[in-house]
Symmetry: C2
Subunit: 335 residues, 2 copies
DNA sequence: CGAAACGCTGCAAACGTTTGCAGACTGTAG
DNA sequence: CTACAGTCTGCAAACGTTTGCAGCGTTTCG
């Protein structure tokens, strides 16, 4: 019922070796045989058994993708990019969701490594040691995180943070609060550092760091009151969800964005144009990152690249919308 | 470097058959041997080669999941549920994104069937014929769609639509518009039919059907003006994204939701609590659906169920938030 | 005490494919 | 006509695992 290479061989009257070659290495068989075999294979509906092929070649023809939370559209986009590029290269994609759990992550990755040619590990929550150990015995590409000796792809968080600061300063803001994300988040550290450095270097800008909030809507709700009390005229949120929470809470407090206070996010998730006012944010080209990570993985898997490939940083872009505005004269005076 | 069953056999001093059995069918080997083998295998870091196993058993230990758009959080949630349940059952998940393209869908599914034990086809865009052909020669479970003879899981769209109508009618609304989704969408047809039936059966309610809009934010923008012109006092949107677009456009036109007009969505995607006012919508338990679809697939794959399993309908729940309100007295009079 | 039954283990075949090697054939040159 | 190169094809081994079958030792029962 399921057609194997033998059936094709019998139907065409050649050996299975010839069939195999006609399909996988067409240039090794004579023109006539080749077309005959290919034709027959097609009409018979032959599909090579990947398990059998994998057994002898040692390649599985698939890659693994590990993300912390599939429900988060940020990772959904990356998946989309990965999936598209992988298919174009003839690879299938195994997916795994770690539920933001470092232990589960480790287990999942180890289970996956044996059945794939390489793994893309996205925003890993595990320790450097754990990630490093995995990298030792499997092809690994890190996304949204760096680790010495392991190829990785990151967004230019620092550049994004600086662009936000430049934008706010240009609008007249001098007292700016940062509603930070999880301290375990590599992205948060990158952004935080860049913001602080920027403030230090331009000596009339004050950055108020507001501690750490969960990177979700309610995190913004929490941060809003603190931000308000701090006297800042602009709030940089760790991401768009926090920014949305901020805006919502501020509205309840009777504060209007951007008239009274400006708010920015990070990521440019689709919802950032749904909240009112539409969020000024930093766009992270996530699909592109997904594609790039597959390319990087294939580089190492296929040995296309000799020298160890360090980190690739993907540029990001400030998207100015309605949640940021010029500093009201009254506040400027009082500052 | 990679440890095989042979290495474990040599290390423990038993044959490979015994190792295989000790790990896969523990009850077939003696207690002492079993613990010895299991212990050694663990310390050596042995992981069975799935390709080899698959070759002899005919099972791959993985399932395929095909969705129209990974970026859409609706499908992201389903993926999450599928992935979690599949892992719990010892299966890995191949994922494929069809970009909403029926042709790509067909190709992708066919390519997948050979390397998995079964496929979960989510919101398929292909024709009944195309889907039916695939179902013939592979284990298939349909999600969000029914097809004679193929096991499927759907949400109770009709029940959700009726709940929305009851809610609006209770608030005093008698002229209700439906901003329909894509005509190719099975869910849209289900909702539309239920809404229409409901209106017909309660003879003082008028349903105005507003044609078809893309199921995204801008679809709502388009629908808003038509809805306004129709004189409806409440608008049922095909989904939350359309509802969000509606609310946004209405605000620009100076109409307040829900004071002047009520709006509802479907799906209860995470953003529905981000837009202001928070959307009244119908919650679809997507993670649960993901899990249920794996169960259904495993039923057929493992032959756990004899009689053909028809459709399983998952109940949904109306979530009342701030986008619906009582019909203003002025409008009631004018109606 | 002998035979049967049982529990445990090992042998070896099989799964479907790729690939190194060698053989068969054709054509060309000496 | 022989030798040789070159092109194409087939043979057979190998990949790592599962599993039917048989063998072995021990126990149980008559």
């Amino acid at each position: 019922m399921v057609v194997t290479i033998r059936d094709v061989a019998r139907a065409t009257g050649v050996s299975i070796s010839t069939v195999s070659r006609a399909l996988a290495n067409p240039e090794q068989v004579a023109e006539a045989t080749r077309v005959h075999v290919q034709e027959t294979a097609r009409t018979m509906g032959y599909r090579p058994n990947r398990a059998a092929r994998g057994l002898v070649t040692g390649r599985t023809g698939s890659i693994g993708l590990v993300v912390p939370d599939l429900e988060n559209p940020f990772f959904g986009s990356i998946c989309k990019g990965v999936q598209a590029r992988a298919r174009a290269a003839g690879y299938a994609v195994f997916i795994a969701d770690t539920d933001e759990d470092p232990l589960l992550e480790d287990e999942v990755v180890r289970g996956l490594t044996k059945q794939v040619d390489g793994v893309i590990l996205c925003s890993p929550r595990g320790s450097d040691e754990a990630v490093g150990r995995v990298a030792e015995d499997s092809s690994l590409v890190l996304v949204n995180r760096t680790l010495a000796g392991v190829p990785s792809i990151t967004f230019d968080n620092g550049g994004g943070a600086r662009a936000v600061m430049r934008h706010l300063v240009a609008l007249g803001h001098r007292t700016i609060a940062y509603a930070a994300g999880p301290i375990t988040s590599w992205s948060n550290r990158e952004r935080d550092t860049a913001l602080r450095d920027f403030a230090e270097q331009s000596n009339d800008v004050e950055l108020i760091e507001l501690g750490s909030f969960p990177p979700v809507f309610s995190g913004g709700t929490q941060a809003a009151d603190l931000a308000l009390a701090s006297g800042a005229t602009a709030i940089v949120a760790f991401n768009d969800l926090v920014a949305a929470g901020l805006v919502d809470r501020l509205r309840h407090r009777g504060i209007t964005v951007p008239t009274d206070i400006s708010v920015t996010g990070f990521d440019n998730v689709p919802m950032s144009t749904l909240v009112w006012p539409n969020l000024t944010t930093v766009d992270f080209p996530r699909i592109q990152m997904g594609r790039a990570s597959v390319d990087a993985l294939l580089d190492t898997v296929l040995g296309r690249r000799k020298e160890p490939r360090p980190n690739l940083e993907i540029p990001v872009e400030l998207v100015v919308r309605q949640s940021t505005g010029v500093l009201p004269a009254s506040r400027a005076a009082s500052a």
